[in-house]
Symmetry: C3
Subunit: 207 residues, 3 copies
């Protein structure tokens, strides 16, 4: 893993590093959900990835404010950077709450939701990569449609998970804890959809 | 109900369709709160209205990105479209949660809040209609003041509802469920206030 | 306290009044947390400060829409005004919920979080004051770094408070109430960080 970018890289290079970092973080998150024993150290490692994400965010914003010309509209770059950061923050928050709430039995539906999020951030990585080449308009659009489909699927799954939770939870405190975890993951998936919408906007403007 | 707009309609026509759709959705929502028997099928119908709203959103954003000139500032059109979509999403989410949480006894305060939201979206529809005519500056402003007043009223009612809930609820799970429903409805009313602020901004710029 | 601003004041004067008002509100909030007896009347007084904040917001936005030239980019002024308003709204909401939830025993961690917020809004006041003088670039940046540090500290404290709450709370309803209060205060601290980011953006653009 590279922790520092050379100063002369362009926006697209920063975006690619940022999305690669997000995919690595969600892969780690999916593992730590399944591995109770190594969870605490994995949460620490995830925190490092979150800090690295903050550096990409800061680097991109500093570049945005000091660049006279930008490859896309400034507000689209700003929105893209912010939403990518939000994805990582939500994943990091979910992992921390998992420890903090001492959730021993991770429900199957939570693991399923995390797997959907992983599928979604991999599509986000692809969508952002297509920004390198305006001719990949069709491919980028197909990726955005897939991210929207995954968000709808996550939404359905979230509702099923809540229904199950309210039926089966042993007590109200368990409801509070798991409802919170589901909400953080749902939020991460929603931010992926936001990224898809921004990529779509950039592609439409470029066409 | 018309499901597809002719391609040459302008932004204002899309906004009017969108607000008409929102009013229909909130009317349906107010009915399904009062009618336990037909609730499940009404929630399905509401989902269709939400999908139709998504189409208006997509249509307006696509038009925004491909239009060289726009009747108002681009960022105001974007904000207006997004906030109208948020109102409908919040109403749809409240209806789904109502089913999912198996709330049999709908509290009177929830029905009152829904009625306030209906009053608010009807004002939103009027405010957006005034955008057709910059001379209706005074009328538009009065409508925006009324939306702000309704939001304050909803805020008061929300607080009373929470106080009542914490005093009377049979158990913590009931608190969790109803607190969630109140929060979604409050959010819908807040988004109406956002729309009022955007209409006010557009009117000030045009004057 | 001055309740009405002379009409010819500039944006910076309005920002200074707004941040002074926020500091006064958070000072009052820290007092009412410690003083159970005078709490109800202090919450009323806080509401007045929140209304005064609304007037500054409205005044700044009206000025923004009617000004041909502005000292900073319009979107930065808009964001700054909105985020300052959000800080005050979150503090007012926390105070109201405290009464509404009939929280008699305010946890020490909640008081600590409020003290961190007070430190943070005082830095916000300084950061906004530095906008008067582009030469104070270094000082402004140092203040923004300090606001970020305080936000991280508040984040840590929030997590400790939640861990303690889930361990020690007598029942689930108490968890619901205090978790809500912590979330509102955390939100206020996050909005201070947003203000720091906007000040940083303005300073970078001006340099």
């Amino acid at each position: 893993m590279r922790w520092f970018l050379p100063k002369d890289e362009g926006f697209l290079a920063i975006f690619d590093e940022a999305t690669g970092n997000i995919v690595a973080a969600v892969e780690l998150f999916c593992q730590l959900l399944r591995d109770g024993a190594g969870r605490a150290s994995a949460v620490d490692k995830l925190k490092e990835l979150e800090h690295q994400g903050d550096r990409y965010t800061h680097q991109a914003l500093a570049k945005l404010h000091t660049s006279f010309i930008t490859p896309f509209d400034r507000e689209d770059i700003h929105a893209l950077v912010t939403k990518l950061d939000d994805i990582l923050d939500a994943v990091d928050a979910t992992a921390h709450r998992l420890l903090l709430y001492r959730v021993e039995q991770v429900p199957a539906k939570l693991v399923e939701l995390a797997d959907l999020l992983l599928a979604s951030v991999r599509e986000v990585q692809k969508a952002v990569l297509y920004l390198h080449d305006p001719k990949k308009h069709q491919e980028a659009m197909a990726t955005c449609v897939e991210i929207n489909r995954l968000e709808n699927e996550a939404d359905q799954l979230h509702r099923q998970a809540l229904a199950e939770l309210f039926l089966k939870a042993r007590d109200a405190v368990e409801v509070i804890k798991l409802k919170d975890l589901y909400a953080f993951l749902e939020d991460a998936t929603d931010r992926c959809e936001d990224v898809a919408n921004i990529v779509e906007t950039i592609m439409i403007k470029a066409s």
